[in-house]
């Protein structure tokens, strides 16, 4: 082990002996690096493939089979109107969700946190149950609900089956339990005296919410917005289930069509479209790291 020519100074009571600690550290880092290898490899392939003629494993190959073959050809799709249409649909869904979930959660969370009313307890329990419940199981029945919504005169054309509005509505409903629960938590932490002061100053409950309380939960609302935007932007199952054809397809549905419709799959072009789709996510990832980690823990508030 270590040489002991020099008598070690009497160490204050502290962590484990240095060598064992060092070994532990090395083991820890080794394990962690190993654990993220598949993740890193996946993304590496995405980046390499995007700019390559074709790939074998992680190696870019040119037409002759040698290493190389750098090309921008995979990005030709940016001149295709269909992808911009898909992007617009994705954006519409995501923005509608940010607004819809934001407004409904900010109002509902406030009522659940701050109001005395008949049925409050039932509402709180219901929110929590829905929070755990996964609505994917209801998709079959939601299909029929959406068809009926489509029969409503005038607005039916915007919110029924096979419309971007309908998809957005379903997505809003799915994210709502989490949103309400999060916002309720944020309102719970605000001081009662501030609200009392506003009531005494002459404000109505609505005005208190709008002018006094909402500004205090802005960070929470921002986190929720980020979370719902990502959920909306990435949405696949609901748009896939409730839309037919490319006109109402969002980016993930468009991409999946690209994968299955072209045979054999042009992996490099598909990778480029995937990469393109991740641009806003990468921006969020770089600039809001801490916030991201926090909001993905948000669903568990209170345990």
């Amino acid at each position: 082990m270590t040489t002991t020519e020099i008598a070690p100074p009497i160490r204050p009571v502290g962590p484990l002996p240095k060598t064992r600690e060092k070994m532990g550290r090395r083991f820890a880092y080794g394990f962690l690096i190993l654990s993220i290898v598949p993740i890193l490899i996946g993304y590496s392939w995405l980046v390499i493939a995007t700019f390559s003629f074709r790939t074998e494993g992680l190696l870019p190959r040119n037409a002759e089979g040698g290493i190389g073959g750098f090309t921008l050809r995979n990005w030709d799709f940016v001149t295709d109107a269909a992808i911009w249409n898909a992007m617009l649909n994705s954006l519409l869904i995501a923005v509608a969700m940010v607004i819809g979930v934001g407004v409904a959660s900010a109002a509902g969370g406030y009522a659940l946190s701050r109001f005395k009313f008949a049925g409050r307890k039932a509402f709180l329990t219901g929110t929590l149950v829905l929070h755990a419940f996964k609505a994917e199981m209801l998709l079959i029945a939601i299909f029929f609900v959406l068809r009926s919504l489509g029969d409503i005169p005038i607005i039916g054309g915007f919110i029924g089956f096979n419309t971007v509005g309908g998809v957005a509505l379903v997505m809003i409903a799915l994210e709502l339990p989490l949103g309400i629960w999060l916002m309720k938590g944020f309102f719970d932490n605000l001081p009662w005296d501030m609200e009392r002061a506003a009531l005494i100053d002459g404000a109505s409950r609505f005005r208190v919410w709008w002018q006094i309380m909402l500004p205090q939960v802005r960070p929470g609302l921002a986190a929720l917005s980020l979370f719902t935007f990502i959920a909306g932007w990435n949405a696949y199952l609901v748009p896939f289930t409730f839309t037919v054809g490319s006109k109402v397809a969002n980016m993930p549905v468009f991409l999946n069509q690209l994968i299955s419709d072209t045979a054999p799959t042009n992996w490099n072009q598909v990778a480029a479209v995937g990469m393109f789709q991740m641009v806003p996510l990468i921006i969020f990832f770089i600039f809001t790291q801490e916030l991201l980690l926090n909001i993905y823990a948000g669903g568990s508030k209170g345990t």
Partner: protein, 333 residues
């Protein structure tokens, strides 16, 4: 002026003046109305997309509605769908698949790896731990279609698959030629596990970081090894988060099928990786010979809904519900 001091004063609850109740009734109705006003959008959405579909799903499961008889009035068939479900030739296989998939993923990744990651990343310097957790969050942020695309490429046969290129090179040929078609379960569990582990990791991390530093220092002073500190102090203190993740994730795994749908569609072959939730979805939406069997799909789904509701009740109990409800400290006048 001064009321006589009475010892039983505390015991006796103050009772409202007679007559005051009637006048306050109107007030109470109005304040409840205000609250429901705030909850309006929520109530509308929950009714439309949770309550009505839930009831509809139950009703559907007693009909024979499919795309072939869509225009006709609904025909009620009693428990025929349930009979068909439980006598289905592939019912035992799907059930086995579901149980295998849920518990393997849960134990290996959503709980096991999540816990190890949380323990390890909290035992190294803060910035490094943060970095690794962030990388682990990436799969969760990635669109499911893109994420599965990566895994498909990783799991392809030679010469395109990344695994089959790298593993023989670094580990010798022994691990060679593992591909999606050959070992579908491995990849189904890996893809879901890499998403699932990060949620537990984040929750466990925040629970571990909230353990008072003094407690750990005291244990170190007492000469406890890292392993003993984990076993004797950390694990008992994060018992509740562990239970919470176990229920929450069991339910998630049981009901989510998006990644399997994208990766294998339940294949390859007949029902190889098909789980319960996926069956429900495929019966209703992926047409068999041009026929979407909505009612039969609903039957599969309603069984799962029942199970999920039972889990949700456990989950609510685990949440220490009472502590989460604080009495509002403003009465509405």
């Amino acid at each position: 002026m001064t009321p006589p001091l009475e010892k039983e004063a505390l015991v006796r609850a103050a009772v409202g003046e007679p007559g005051s109740t009637r006048r306050t009734l109107g007030r109470r109705v109005r304040s409840t109305a205000t609250a429901y006003g705030f909850l309006g959008p929520t109530i509308a959405l929950v009714l439309t997309f949770f309550v009505v579909p839930g009831i509809l799903l139950l009703i559907l499961s007693f009909t024979d509605l499919a795309s072939v008889n869509f225009g006709d009035p609904w025909n009620f068939v009693g428990f025929a769908n349930f009979e068909r479900l439980f006598t289905d030739r592939f019912f035992p296989k799907i059930l086995r698949n579901t149980v295998f998939y849920v518990f393997t993923t849960l134990i290996l990744f959503n709980l096991g790896l999540a816990l190890v990651l949380a323990l390890v990343t909290t035992n190294i310097p803060r910035r490094s731990g943060f970095f690794f957790r962030l990388v682990w969050l990436l799969p969760r942020l990635t669109p499911s279609v893109v994420y599965i695309l990566m895994w498909k490429r990783i799991a392809q046969a030679e010469p395109f698959g990344i695994y089959n290129q790298l593993v023989p090179e670094f580990l010798g040929a022994s691990g060679g030629n593992l591909f999606l078609g050959g070992s579908p379960w491995t990849f189904v569990i890996l893809t879901n596990g890499f998403i699932g582990a990060s949620f537990g990791m984040i929750i466990f991390t925040s629970a571990l970081l909230s353990i008072p530093e003094d407690l750990l220092t005291a244990a170190k002073v007492d000469g406890a090894s890292t392993w003993r500190i984990i076993r004797d102090i950390k694990l008992p203190l994060i018992k509740w988060p562990l239970l919470f993740i176990a229920t929450y994730q069991t339910l998630s795994l049981l009901t989510s099928f998006e990644y399997i749908l994208l990766l294998t569609e339940g294949g390859p072959g007949l029902f190889t990786t098909e789980v319960w939730a996926l069956t429900a979805y495929k019966r209703a939406f992926a047409s068999y010979a041009g026929n979407s069997q909505w009612a039969f799909g609903a039957t599969w789904a309603i069984v799962l809904v029942t199970v999920a509701l039972m889990f949700a009740v456990v989950y609510v109990k685990l949440f220490k519900f009472k502590e989460l409800i604080q009495e509002p400290r403003i009465d509405n006048l």
